[in-house]
Symmetry: C2
Subunit: 407 residues, 2 copies
């Protein structure tokens, strides 16, 4: 009797018919002899509806009260799914985060799970019942309702799988798995059978929105096998697991495109210690997150300091730095929000030299000028002009033989 | 510093503007120096919406899951009101039934309150915070969410007032208090300043829908002063208290009209022991509630056995009894669903003879024929033809000098 955790997101629970379809899927898994724990999000749109309601009362509602409000979303879906399962002949029991006792810290709206009490759930599974658990929420030591932040249901599912020692944590979404590139950009993009945690982390943070980063980190830490699959189509999805479990590791797993960034350059900064930190502290002090950072020492004693921020923060960042140019002794500040970031990700590049040069020459052969470069152990990112977005992604997808036709 | 419990029902919380108005009212009470505990229902229509949703999954949803679902309604209003209070400059904390720990038995959908843990609420009040508690819900010993049944929020409010020793439990509704008669029927009906628990119980069970019967029983048992008042109009409302607290007790407090009943007569039943119980058991066995019962011994050895049921149950009741006539040796079964019940209520009738004869002659002088009579210590009810509804109520209202103009 294997134990499986199945998590369904908001689009899988958007209306009565879809909830019934989820019930049918869970019932099938149960009938196949598995023990099943289900973790649910709120119905699509419900969290936004509740947030909107809160905003009509307060521009900045209390975190505690917001969590109390938002947590009703999953309480509704878990109760409804339990009813639907019962109609399928499956005995099911719904739980809020507090009822399970998913203990979190007290950081409202972005709480972290500290501990899950498995006793009630274990009891249900032993008795053949399906446990239907509200994702995204928990309770702190004082009994206050907390939420884990957007996408937190993935984290609940993985944490539940860790606690129970589940064989697999299945994350049902509206896509059929993790792809080598966005199929809307690259028509012959291919679903990956398997991928490592590390690669998934890079892909998740680069904009492949199938799975929350925190959930992948959690899974990676405790080596939980996570499978991303579609709640609308049959199929094996993509298994996220350790490198050791993957027999034939591809060189590159995927190409990602991030359109949300903008570039900022502080031009002609004196090349002396402390300049970078002065710039970054000023930006961070305004709660603006910085992604890529590049600094080149120039011929004279000055340097250009370049970094990227979210496009929404671009104007604010330029304003902050314009106010700093005198103090920095910089010549000026330049901005560009017509750029994109293209990355290739793959654990295979650890052991293979020359990946970067293949990437750059593939882009060059399409006439694409690289504006910034940043590398990590399993990822190379470049910033290019926005107009080259699709061309760049397709060139790299082909260069590394990622397509369906190239198998 | 007096403590007050204020309960607001669904119509007082129907939309954003009304919730803001409730917040303003609570804030005023708090600023006047009172400690305030607020008990809330769900937004008007929300419970029905959730019930409808449940029915799309199951004709008879699990009681446990239904309670988990329905309890979200008050969780939403308590969080929203706390936000609204915060905008009024009042620190407020919302609580679900589980969070307070309103311990109930495990009878889902109609649970009874066993115990309320007052510690968190007391802490809040001591610190000057307003506690906003979800009505209608609690938790059983195993942590399952329970609900108290329709109108249960009144019961929560009174129970909270008992636990905390509140000076007054204020029930805000969409009427300005308890009236001597329905103002739509009797234009000069008068709001009662005060009324006893006993009278309120009779009025509540007779169709004056301002307050749930269980809440009045609870208040009566623990002698909590309850005040019914409007959330839309300023005014003192009606105070429900002990007979001793009411200085000038009127003879009759009010006249009520119940249009929901229908009459059933089993004609020519042999006058021997066990007949009544055979009839009543058959009806009760179909979960049909019986209200008035009248039996007259006739001239021969047979009797007519008459009782009233809810109009919705009339047809079913007739069918059951038609199937029993042979076994009973009865001549037949007759039904009439064009009847109403008119009652007068007042603790004053205990010490004054002749109330019944005044009532009957007032009806007779209007040519109204009385079809059934039933009396209790502080109430006299008659069944008359439906067409006499308004005429009968007005005649009695005038007979007992209940109107505004007769003070």
């Amino acid at each position: 009797m294997n134990m499986i955790v199945q998590k369904f997101g908001g689009t899988s629970l958007a209306d009565v018919e879809r909830i019934k379809a989820v019930a049918a899927k869970v019932a099938t898994t149960r009938r196949e002899g598995h023990s099943v724990v289900v973790v649910l999000s709120a119905m699509a749109g419900e969290t936004d509806r509740l947030l909107g309601l809160a905003k009509t009362f307060s521009r900045q509602p209390s975190g505690r009260e917001l969590d109390a409000l938002l947590s009703t979303g999953e309480q509704v879906t878990t109760a409804l799914l339990s009813m639907a399962l019962s109609e399928e002949g499956i005995t099911a029991v719904s739980y809020t985060g507090s009822q399970v006792r998913i203990l979190t810290d007290s950081a409202h709206n972005k709480a972290r799970i500290l501990e899950i009490d498995e006793r009630k759930i274990r009891n249900d599974l032993d008795a053949g019942r399906v446990a239907v658990v509200a994702g995204f929420q928990g309770t702190d030591r004082n009994g206050n309702i907390t939420t884990l932040g957007r996408g937190g249901s993935d984290t609940t599912a993985v944490a539940m799988a860790v606690t129970l020692g589940a064989e697999e944590c299945q994350i049902y979404t509206d896509v059929e798995g993790v792809y080598t590139a966005d199929p809307r950009v690259v028509p012959d993009a291919r679903r990956l059978e398997q991928i490592t945690y590390e690669e998934m982390l890079e892909l998740a943070s680069l904009g492949a929105k199938v799975l929350q980063i925190r959930a992948v980190e959690f899974a990676s830490k405790y080596l939980v096998r996570v499978r991303v699959l579609s709640s609308f189509e049959e199929g094996p999805g993509t298994l996220i697991t350790t490198e050791e479990d993957i027999m034939e590791q591809a060189l590159i797993s995927g190409v990602t495109l991030n359109r949300d960034e903008a570039k900022v350059t502080v031009v002609g900064v004196p090349d002396r210690p402390g300049v970078a930190s002065t710039i970054l502290e000023a930006v961070a002090g305004a709660n603006i997150e910085i992604d890529m950072i590049v600094q080149n020492t120039g011929a004279d004693d000055t340097t250009d300091f370049t970094f990227t921020v979210h496009r929404n923060d671009h104007t604010a960042t330029l304003e902050i730095l314009n106010g700093l140019t005198d103090a920095l002794g910089a010549r000026g500040v330049e901005g560009d929000n017509k750029i994109v970031k293209i990355s290739i990700v793959g654990v295979g590049m650890r052991s293979h030299a020359g990946i970067a040069s293949r990437m750059f020459s593939a882009l060059a052969s399409e006439g694409i000028n690289i504006r910034m470069i940043s590398t990590s152990e399993i990822k190379i990112s470049v910033v290019v002009d926005e107009k080259y977005s699709e061309l760049g992604v397709r060139a790299l997808h082909q260069e590394f033989d990622l397509g369906e036709n190239e198998d």
